[in-house]
């Protein structure tokens, strides 16, 4: 395996370069960071918490949250922890930091200070530096994770991990294609190898750091096979750099059977491919994201979407659920709205914690279908990479053999068109160049024709648009008006 690992020499070279890109970088000292992490109590370690959740078959609750200034951010997190009863805490990073625009972020901090309210859509961790991060991680009792969307997160990782965070979201594909425009895929993958290697170095020193590829991608009609492949590939890339604790994610699609099948198949497939790549020692857990697409503006309706997501999360046996809020359609939530989302989720999760979605014929069919599709895409990746997954995924994305719907990145093909079938399953209407067999596509087509027949219209692009709006307008399948 070590053939894939970034060498120490190379690593240190990059490190010196990276730490110099913003003044706060100079405070980072790896040995000091190890010592700092060593005294963080186990109850605050994210990797440990995820492993325990899986063992105890519990579904942990985690919100998203981040504001511009340190004291306000601490107040927010403490509120979510006590009043909101969150199990795991986040620190969501602002969009300037995500694009390494630390000057813009600094300006945002400044303006927020003057406006006495956060004008940034997240916490600018790089600008606040080691001291700021440590104030945050020390102020809370729960494990805490960095959540962002950063194609080049090397400096962010250095600062936040040294700052006491014990989990880091993202990956070279999942934090490029949905989040960036012009970043070449090989570039983001290389930069994320650094992040994973950094985590590997912590692991080598006995510090467990959880890594979580971003499952939902664009959050909009993403077929399970697409996000599964990205998750599995990013998992392998992380394992190659020495990562040990991996949480793979999936964003709620809307059909209960498909969603449950997705979580089940994700776990099974990941083990299959991780082992195929020669990995045996790792902790694999899953995370279910409540509905990631457009939300209904009405708060009562938003609560229903949140509760339904919570329901599927727990019934599928996901180890963690990422919680939305009743403000989702409108803007960054207040701390109260954020806590409301967690409370609704808590109620649903606790009411259902002793239940699982019963195994059915439909579920077996869909689980097998997803597996077939993922294998078809993975085969193409191995083929295009001549056996190597990294080379393969870059080539596959370039060729459109793997294609993420509605994504902003120019490196992405963008020809795939997904659409719901008559029961709300996400199917593929136009595969673009996706490496899916005729047999697979015939199945999708058949399912879509069923819907077209019911709606008395042909399978058409309008259906895609209707489906995108559907949940925010109060339905799942976008029926003609």
């Amino acid at each position: 395996m070590s053939v894939y690992k970034i060498s120490d020499e190379k690593f240190n070279e990059i490190r010196n370069e990276i730490l110099a890109t913003w003044p706060t970088g100079k405070d980072i000292d790896f040995e000091e960071a190890i010592k700092y992490q060593q005294v963080i109590p186990e109850s605050k370690n994210f990797a440990v918490a995820m492993k325990k959740a899986a063992e105890e078959k519990r579904t942990l609750l985690q919100p998203r949250a981040g504001v511009a200034l340190v004291p306000e951010h601490i107040t927010l997190l403490k509120y979510l922890e006590t009043e909101g009863e969150a199990d795991l805490l986040p620190t969501t990073i602002d969009a300037y930091t995500r694009l390494n625009r630390y000057e813009n972020a600094a300006e945002g901090v400044e303006k927020s200070l003057n406006a006495r309210t956060s004008l940034l859509n997240g916490f600018p961790a790089v600008n606040h530096g080691l001291a700021g991060c440590r104030m945050v991680t020390e102020a809370v009792k729960s494990p805490i994770q960095v959540r962002h969307g950063t194609p080049d997160a090397r400096l962010l990782a250095e600062i936040t991990l040294a700052g006491g965070f014990t989990s880091f979201e993202g990956g070279g594909i999942s934090y490029n294609i949905p989040y960036a425009k012009k970043v070449p895929l090989q570039k983001s993958i290389d930069d994320w190898k650094y992040v994973d290697r950094l985590v590997g170095k912590y692991e080598e020193r006995g510090i467990h750091i959880n890594r979580e590829p971003f499952g939902p991608l664009t959050g909009t009609l993403v077929p399970p096979c697409v996000s599964h492949v990205v998750a599995i590939v990013e998992g392998i890339l992380a394992l190659r750099q020495g990562v040990k604790s991996i949480t793979l994610g999936y964003g709620q699609g809307g059909n209960l059977v498909q969603d449950v099948s997705a979580i089940l198949s994700l776990k099974a497939l990941a083990h299959e491919y991780f082992e195929r790549e020669g990995f045996n020692e790792y902790d694999l857990t899953t995370v279910f994201h409540q509905w990631m697409g457009g939300f209904p503006p009405d708060e009562a309706k938003a609560f229903a979407v949140i509760s339904l997501g919570a329901t599927v999360a727990v019934l599928s046996g996901a180890d963690k659920v990422i919680v939305k809020t009743p403000h989702e359609a409108k803007g960054i939530p207040t701390k109260e709205a954020n806590a409301q989302g967690i409370k609704a989720t808590r109620q649903a999760v606790n009411m259902l914690r002793d239940q699982r979605f019963p195994v059915s014929e439909e579920q077996n069919i869909e689980t097998e279908q997803i597996k077939k599709e993922v294998r078809s895409l993975m085969d193409a990746i191995y083929r295009l990479g001549e056996g190597d997954i990294e080379k393969g995924v870059v080539a596959a994305v370039e060729a459109g053999a793997l294609d993420v719907p509605f994504a902003p990145a120019v490196c992405n093909h963008g020809k795939i068109l997904p659409m719901r079938d008559n029961n709300g399953y996400i199917r593929i209407f136009n595969k673009g160049n996706m490496a899916l067999s005729d047999e697979i596509m015939a199945y999708h087509r058949e399912k879509l024709e069923e819907r077209a027949k019911v709606e008395g219209r042909n399978v058409c692009f309008q259906m895609v648009t209707d489906d995108i709006y559907a949940i925010s307008k109060g339905a799942l399948v976008g029926r003609p008006r």
Partner: protein, 140 residues
């Protein structure tokens, strides 16, 4: 529908929300506009350059991610600077951070020089209709 009007479309700043942008492009194109879509993460300069290049009658700016206030400030002034005194500026999406009463948002962005300000709850039919009218008005 007579000759199609040229319009420029894009998501401003460091904003990556591409779904609405793709829908707006499809919708305005289908409804008889000649759309230059700059996609996501568009700077003020890029908007203006494209408007000049295409002789656009209007720029439709989207901002979803909350930094709209910071990203949009000064766009009207820059337009004037570059000789686009008459260009129609629309802006829409989730324009500020947080759930803020929409009237306040409208006021804020009108002060910045936007002709019309839209939330994410509007109807595209009405929006296209308004745009057509506003352009015709300006052309008189």
């Amino acid at each position: 529908m007579s000759t199609p009007y040229n319009i420029v479309l894009g998501v401003i700043g460091s904003d990556c929300h591409s779904v609405g942008n793709k829908i707006l492009e499809a919708y305005f194109t289908e409804n008889g506009f000649n759309v230059t879509n700059l996609g996501v993460m568009v700077s003020q300069e890029e908007f203006i350059a494209a408007a000049i290049e295409t002789g656009a009658k209007a720029i439709l700016v989207s901002s979803l991610y909350g930094h709209g206030e910071i990203d949009c400030a000064g766009l009207r002034e820059k337009c004037i600077e570059k000789g686009l005194e008459d260009i129609i500026l629309y802006v829409g999406g989730n324009l500020v951070v947080g759930k803020v009463p929409f009237e306040q948002v409208v006021e804020k962005f009108q002060k910045m020089g936007f002709d019309r300000v839209f939330s994410n709850e509007g109807s595209l039919d009405e929006e296209a209709e308004l745009l057509r009218k506003d352009i015709q008005e300006r052309l008189k």
